[in-house]
Amino acid sequence: MPSVARTLTLALLAAAGLAVTGLAPAQNDPKVLRIVPHSNLNILDPIWTTQYMARNHGYMIYDTLFGTDEKSQVKPQMVEAWTVSPDNRLWTFTLRPGLGFHDGAPVTGEDVIASIQRWGKRDAMGQKLMTFVDRMDSPTPQTFRIFLREACGFVLEALGKPSSNVPFIMPKRVAETPADKQIEDYVGSGPYVFRRDEFKPGDKAVYVKNAKYVPRKEPASGTAGGKVVYIDRVEWNLALRDAQAQVNALAKGEIDILERPAFESYEQLKKADGVALVNKDPLGFQYMGRFNHLQPPFNNQKIRQAALAAMSQEPFLRAQVGVKEFYRPCPSMFTCGTPYGSAKGSDIQSKSNMKKAQELLKASGYDGTPIVILKPTDLASIQKLPDVAAQLLRQAGFKVDLQAMDWNTVVTRRAKKDPPAQGGWNIFLTAWVAPDIWNPLTNAAVGAQGEKSWFGWPTDPEIEKLRDEFARATDEPKKKALAEAIQARAFEVATHAPLGEYVNPLAARKNVTGFVIGPGDIYWNLKKGDRGG
């Protein structure tokens, strides 16, 4: 027995010794960037879905013809030069030299055309563009041409649009996948290469530097400029979803970048050693509440206006964002601070108060039909909005039925046109990144073609007429005037309720520098200092 005791003691000491040596902090490789993105990556086809995770994945491994810089100007990216015929109907583009896919093949005009066509089948702006396009061809591998039926005012804006869906350029064989099927081949021509063999859904996604990528000479700005990569490898940590654990991990240096911290985390992040907040996307996001125009009671314009009057922006922003320097009310349906962000027509919401809303509701003939509001339980960035909406609408005199479900179910349900009692809805709330809503063409919420439009399905021929004119207009002052008119009419019709704008600065270790200013989540141009930061 004593020998047993001795053996046991020795074993325990050995284990303790092992543990102590193991307690030395883990190596932090300065050539590896460890990022926690805002959600899980499960769809790898950025054309098939508008999901931002797929878009961010796309920016890693694909390149675009044009980009949008931090001043919201469209700048060439893969394109070297282009000419436009005097009647605006023939566009000729020349590609930059040195563009190649990850498998060694050069990028040709044929690849570009196939990619544009696939994107044009899914993206709203792309679909609109395609109605103007007669045909496209590629006379030489380095060039491609677009023939338009009539002048179109937004060709470059469409090809350079920074957010979903982004017209990423894929090899022809991949782009020929039918638009309603997801692609299986992830070869691109972007600054990173996707390591498919290391991809574990729900665990991690890995990208390595594309050594053959030739960046532009200009400095990086938004999705334009030179995409220079200074590190060897990027790892997306898809397993770390608990917000408190994310903060802890960043504070301890176990991760380098936290893409979209929960608003509640900012207080701790501000106090954490070695952590900096980077507001790399000053244009930020906009919240939105959407009415179902097909079902009572919101098929009645007066009732919609009453709800719009009740839903003032400050309570939403304060409850959801909370941090004062990160939010601002914005009376425009298009992003404030961008060319089309005006306050025209917004008085019904911005200059309203609860008493007015109550009066409007009484005058509208509202009969007490309960409003079904969809509340997602698993999306921290918009989770609180439905509760605020419910409380405000109740105060105005509405009867509210707040239904909680996970985001997947919300997404399924909002597509249903049935009455709320049979699986439909009356209001859902969501957030958009600025480029997705900053003009009347990309902004899905002001589309008013009834059942062909975005969920909510408003109908208003006047808005559609104005949007068509906007699409054809080629000079800026005319476009601005049209945008104002569209917005004024949209407020009158109460297509939706804009609920204010906010920024969601990312949090990173102090030794990570080089963040590119612009919308979306951009991971080139970053340098990581040698010490743990």
Binding site: D242, A243, Q244, V247, N248, A262, E264, S265, E267, Q268, P315, R318, A319, G322, M354, K375, T377, D378, A380, K384, D387, V388, Q391, R394, Q395, L402, Q403, A404, M405, D406
Partner: protein, 309 residues
């Protein structure tokens, strides 16, 4: 789910004891006293919730968010009135009063615990009696019970809640179902034992109808062990509800349950621990009280087992 299996093994013996003096022993036992008093207190809190200085637990005001315990702030009622209110346990990130939510949460937790136990017991008794008494049903029924037991309880509960919508009834049933096999087993073995007793054989010989034997002779002897089992199921149910809410697959978040309060508070646990601390304490104390009560009941109803577990 926690000690239910082990104690199920032991309570089988409790039944065949005389009931004489049992109630006396139960009353005098310290565990029963402590557990019982704690439970009574919690029940009182649950029933008297509106009168304990609480406000509507769903009301919030963004101006009052993240207040520390003891601070004062504003609450706006639905009529537009603004009241001043002392947030005894602090406020959450919405601006809701944690004290009110915890107090009202007592209702849900006790309701879920109690109901799940009752549902599990009722179905377990029916199935156990059938299995013990009807030979032909016994084999297949127990195979099915083994199958249900093979599926880990949490996974079964999560999957069931995912299939139907998340409501109080769904959660209660989802938590109760994994507990039914153990009760069935217990009742069945009790039935098999008691059937062999001389007085039961005599009753059968006299031609007493089966239901009368089942409910008149067998059932009364099962009350004690089932009571003990019931308390353990109750404790487990309260914990499972908290876990389901924590994972995001429990009751909808606007219903204040301790699990929901902790689930919402987990985002800022380090900065504002009161979100998790207060409901956590209530949860631990409640489950502890029920477990202690169960221990006491088991000790008194079968002193032979008292030294064992």
């Amino acid at each position: 789910m926690n000690a239910t299996d082990i104690d199920a093994l032991s309570v089988e013996h409790a039944a065949v004891r005389r009931q004489a003096g049992a109630w006396e022993r139960v009353r005098k036992n310290w565990s029963v006293r402590i557990g019982g008093v704690a439970m009574a207190f919690l029940l009182l809190v649950a029933l008297a919730a509106p009168w304990l200085g609480t406000v509507d637990p769903t009301l919030f005001d963004a101006a009052s968010r993240d207040l520390r315990p003891g601070e004062t702030g504003e609450i706006t009622t639905l009529d537009g009135e603004t009241l001043e209110h002392r947030f005894v346990m602090g406020s959450d990130s919405f601006g809701r009063d944690i004290f009110s939510r915890v107090v009202y949460g007592t209702r849900i937790s006790l309701l879920v615990g109690f109901s799940s136990a009752v549902v599990a017991l009722v179905f377990g008794i029916l199935l156990g009696l059938s299995a013990g008494y009807l030979r032909r049903l016994d084999g297949p029924l127990m195979r099915v019970m083994d199958g249900v037991m093979a599926i880990p309880a949490i996974l079964l509960a999560i999957a069931l809640v995912a299939l139907w919508k998340a409501s109080l009834l769904t959660v209660i049933v989802a938590i109760a179902i994994p507990e039914i096999p153990r009760v069935t087993r217990l009742v069945r073995s009790l039935v098999l034992t008691i059937r062999e007793e001389p007085y039961v054989e005599a009753a059968v010989a006299l031609g007493t109808p089966t239901p009368k034997i089942m409910f008149g002779h067998i059932l009364p002897n099962t009350i004690a062990p089932l009571l003990v089992q019931g308390t353990y199921i109750c404790a487990a149910a309260i914990l499972v509800e908290a876990i389901l809410s924590f994972l995001g697959v429990g009751l909808p978040p606007d219903i204040p349950t301790w699990g929901n309060i902790m689930a919402e508070g987990r985002v800022q646990f380090i900065a504002y621990p009161h979100n998790v601390f207060f409901p956590g304490i209530f949860l631990a104390v409640t489950v502890l009280a029920v477990n202690i009560l169960g221990d006491g009941l088991r000790d008194t109803l079968d002193p032979r087992m008292a030294r064992r577990l």
